[in-house]
């Protein structure tokens, strides 16, 4: 595959898995004829038919529950949240049934399903369309949570999510669908529980995911010019966290900055900081810095919106500050 846009990388992942396995299907609003709100399933219904690209009514909780029932009885449904925020209406089915049912059933049933779609803060989409549900869902046992950030990892992770026998919440980001990258011609899968070391370094460990990876990369330009050498890790798996990779990095740098798009209170970063304190407290030479979105509904106004999420300049400052701290 030559240069590929992220949404097409996701499409290719679904297409390849559907071609290989007739039990794989997609359900959701406008996934068929319309091709998905971000064109991830464009024209697939022509290839696979209307039952495999099932256009559902606008009934999030019910179509999510249907996917649970279909998964329990042997299919491998992928559901698309037209916007992940809409899946607040499916919270019950995701938490009670997708997440917990294998356990409450004492292992009678497994639920191989993928719940995917666009999340995150876009450009002035307003509060309801700018949600980061990963933080809300991280407490649900039995769910795996993945956030892709490049065409390469989007494809490899989605293919693995479809093959996984567990429910996987798979976050894409509204502003990353048009990223381009050269993808391998050969088929590949990426593990769902491994973080990616984006840049090796020695000064400080920056833990990030989804769109914030790209803000960190922007900050790197300034930081490198100034002679800093940060290690950047894209978590990819938000649950479980890959503490092997995270730990190895912290043992090297002894300093950590978390850069996330979810809100500060109860966010992914909050969980990371708590886990670092549990496991790696002695390794730290400085308090962990958490750069998160403000604890407010995302404002519509563009200036206010950019003040709400973390900007590259703040990442630069945080690195300067944490590296300057000597113990």
């Amino acid at each position: 595959m030559a240069e590929t846009l992220l949404f097409n990388a996701l499409r290719a992942a679904i297409d390849e898995e559907m071609a290989k396995d007739p039990t794989v299907l997609v359900m959701g609003e406008d996934v068929g004829h319309y091709g998905g709100s971000y064109k991830v399933t464009k024209d697939l219904y022509q290839k696979y038919g209307e039952l495999r690209l099932l256009d559902t009514p606008i009934a999030e909780n019910s179509f999510t529950g249907m996917a649970v029932g279909a998964a329990m009885t042997g299919l491998r449904p992928i559901i698309e949240g037209m916007n992940m925020g809409f899946l607040l209406l499916a919270f019950n089915q995701i938490a009670n049934n997708a997440g917990m049912l294998r356990y409450t059933s004492g292992g009678n049933f497994k639920i191989p399903m993928v719940i995917r779609g666009p999340g995150g803060v876009g450009r002035q989409l307003g509060a309801e369309h700018s949600q980061r549900l990963e933080a809300y869902f991280q407490a649900v046992p039995g769910l795996k949570i993945v956030a892709c950030s490049t065409p390469y990892n989007a494809k490899g992770l989605l293919k693995s999510a479809i093959r996984d026998d567990n429910p996987v919440l798979f976050f894409e980001h509204v502003l990353l669908y048009n990223l381009k990258e050269n993808l391998p011609d050969d088929e590949y899968y990426l593990p769902l529980d491994k973080a990616e070391v984006v840049r090796e370094g020695s000064d400080v460990t920056i833990l990030t995911y989804s769109r914030m990876r790209h803000h960190v990369i922007q900050a790197l330009k300034t930081l490198e010019k100034e002679g800093y050498d940060p290690e950047v890790i894209d978590l990819l798996s938000l649950k479980p966290l890959d503490f092997e990779t995270i730990g190895a990095s912290i043992r090297k740098t002894h300093r950590v900055i978390v850069v996330e798009e979810c809100m500060r209170t109860g966010g992914i970063g909050a969980e990371i900081v708590a886990s670092i304190s549990d496991r790696l407290f002695d390794e730290l030479d400085a308090p962990v810095i958490r750069l998160s979105s403000q604890d407010i509904p995302t404002p519509y106004n563009g200036t206010l919106e950019s003040l709400t999420i973390v900007q590259p300049a703040q990442i630069v400052e945080a690195v300067q500050k944490i590296v300057a701290l000597k113990v």
Binding site: P22, P57, G65
Partner: protein, 343 residues
Amino acid sequence: MVQERTVPVFHAADASITKEEGALLYEDMVLGRFFEDKCAEMYYRGKMFGFVHLYNGQEAVSTGVLKAMRPGEDYVCSTYRDHVHALSVGVPARHVMAELFGKQTGCSKGRGGSMHLFSAERRLLGGYAFIGEGIPVATGAAFQSKYRREVMGDEQADQVTAAFFGDGTTNNGQFFECLNMAALWKLPILFVVENNKWAIGMAHERSTAQPEIYRKASVFGMAGVEVDGMDVLAVRTVAQEAIARARAGEGPTLIECLTYRFRGHSLADPDELRSKAEKELWFARDPIKKFSAYLIEQNLAMPEDLNAIDQKIQAIVDDAVQFALDSPEPSSNELYRYVFAED
């Protein structure tokens, strides 16, 4: 004055059952009744915990529908009031009782409890503790049958799914959403409403603008029928017709069974709102008494035959208790087991 709906007339003669069928239906209803009575006893003795919702009075619905299906092949989805549905599909009484005791030998390995009975083997897709949430799951199972037949070319995939739920639940969005989808895609499913007139303390007429639930099918162009839920033969006949339609690819049916629970909502419910007159009226319609009278009158059984069945069932229930008592607790070492598919 008790306001009651007129129960649709059913001519038992139309049902024409054999002695064996009669015995099977009677036995299943008695199993449900005796099992639940035993649960009350065990709950008060401190052997089972949490919320326990008994099914007494509604046996004709479980037996009438599920014995018309192919248990173990067709799919069934229930609520928190699920013990008797589990028994009717053939989950052994031992495994249900052990689950209620929280034992490792329970059908959900002691992880589920009264409101979460599951059996992959008997195709029981579960007891669901939240109102309405089982309806989409059942709809998904029904979709799966259609998918296997039409996408995967599996001719054998003619399974039907039955979803059971209460009158109060029909005011929840998932009910309407799934009726719409099931009718739209002609899914092989039976939506079985057990209208026992009450949702805990909420009288049915106080909760809905249209108390005749079966009529709600009509706006989706779906078959909707009401049936005397205290008459096992009436329920069975209606279910057989609905199952035949579903297997033939003609889509879903909404079945409203007019029934009554003989006990409080759960064993923790003081049951103070339902009037004595109402209860007495419905006790007089006891589905087991009604059916045993019918069997004797029609010469399909002698009183001794029914007695013998009662004794056999009592022994099964007593054995289930002994089995549950003797069974081990789940091992603490396995606390994390079953969170993920690999465990």
